[in-house]
């Protein structure tokens, strides 16, 4: 067996393991009753998807995916879940019609996307890409701060506005403190 063939088989094995893992963990996100378990499953999904990105040679975006998503965003989610002290949903969680409708819509959309994927099955193998030979961080940086510089500024402003909005939302006003708490019937 030549080294090229070994690389091909190794890449295929890696892809299948990671892809099956990503689908399994995302299924766990949907099916887990406990929000903390859902969030941890989503962290696993994010890391596995980042591995798929890195496999195609998008090293920078795979790293950013792990840092920003699995790191910052999911920690924020876990923080909020623990702040609100959410318990696992008990009793009847699955509404039959809701489950059927959800499964139907998901199967329809997923089926369309899956068959659409068949149109690209005659492209080159992932190992034939210029992965690793191409400097993707440099290329991305040149594009971002060259052609897309105004867009980067706008996105920075968007982050600033979001931060200001969250600060305003987080403020406790006199009015919100007076409202009924802990499951009481709201007085009309």
């Amino acid at each position: 067996m030549s080294s090229d063939e070994a690389l091909l088989i190794l890449n295929a094995a890696l892809f299948w393991v990671v892809a099956v893992g990503a689908v399994t963990t995302s299924l766990l996100v949907v099916l887990n009753r406990n929000p903390v378990a859902s969030a941890l499953s989503l962290v696993a999904t994010m890391v596995l998807v980042a591995m798929l990105m890195i496999q195609t040679g998008a090293f920078f975006l795979g790293t950013v995916q792990i840092l920003v998503y699995a790191g910052a965003v999911m920690v924020l989610f876990l923080f909020i879940i623990m702040l609100l002290d959410l318990k696992a949903e008990s009793g009847k969680v699955w509404n039959l019609w809701g489950l059927l409708a959800g499964a139907f819509v998901a199967a329809a959309v997923g089926g369309v996307l899956f068959f659409l994927a068949g149109y690209f099955s005659d492209t080159v193998d992932v190992t034939a890409l210029e992965a690793g030979k191409q400097d993707d961080v440099r290329l991305l940086g040149l594009e971002l701060f060259g052609r897309f510089a105004p867009h980067v500024l706008v996105v920075g402003f968007l982050l600033l506005v979001a931060m200001a909005g969250v600060i305003i939302l987080g403020q406790q006003t006199k009015q919100t403190r007076q409202l009924p708490t802990s499951g009481q019937e709201v007085a009309k």
Binding site: V30, P35, S38, T45, L76, G98, V105, Y119, T123, T181
Partner: protein, 100 residues
């Protein structure tokens, strides 16, 4: 042999699972996580197309998606916490008023 079709198929499966979660689940936070799952699936498709076509624009798009998603998560969780303070619940069944 792993081609572009495989990546798009995985992306489609992840997207539809996220969509199913949004429809089926009742906890607002879990629905939000499923939205993130759908965004991630779209990002995987963008990266795969970008790499196989050899055009960096898809990766620039993913960079912007990550940034906007981070802002969206911050604002969304802020709204959920503010709403939780009023009603002590995160179930979508309890979100039935436009004014408090």
């Amino acid at each position: 042999m792993i081609t572009l079709g495989h990546y798009v198929a995985v992306s489609g499966i992840l997207f539809s699972l996220g969509l199913m979660g949004v429809i089926v689940r009742k906890n607002v936070l879990v629905i939000y996580m499923c939205l993130e799952l759908m965004l991630t699936a779209a990002m995987l498709a963008f990266v795969a197309f970008s790499r196989f076509i050899g055009n960096i624009d898809g990766q620039v798009m993913v960079f912007f998606i990550i940034t906007v998603a981070a802002a969206e998560v911050a604002v969304g969780l802020g709204i959920i916490v503010a709403w939780f303070r009023l009603r002590r619940s995160t179930s979508v069944a309890d979100i039935n008023n436009l004014r408090f």
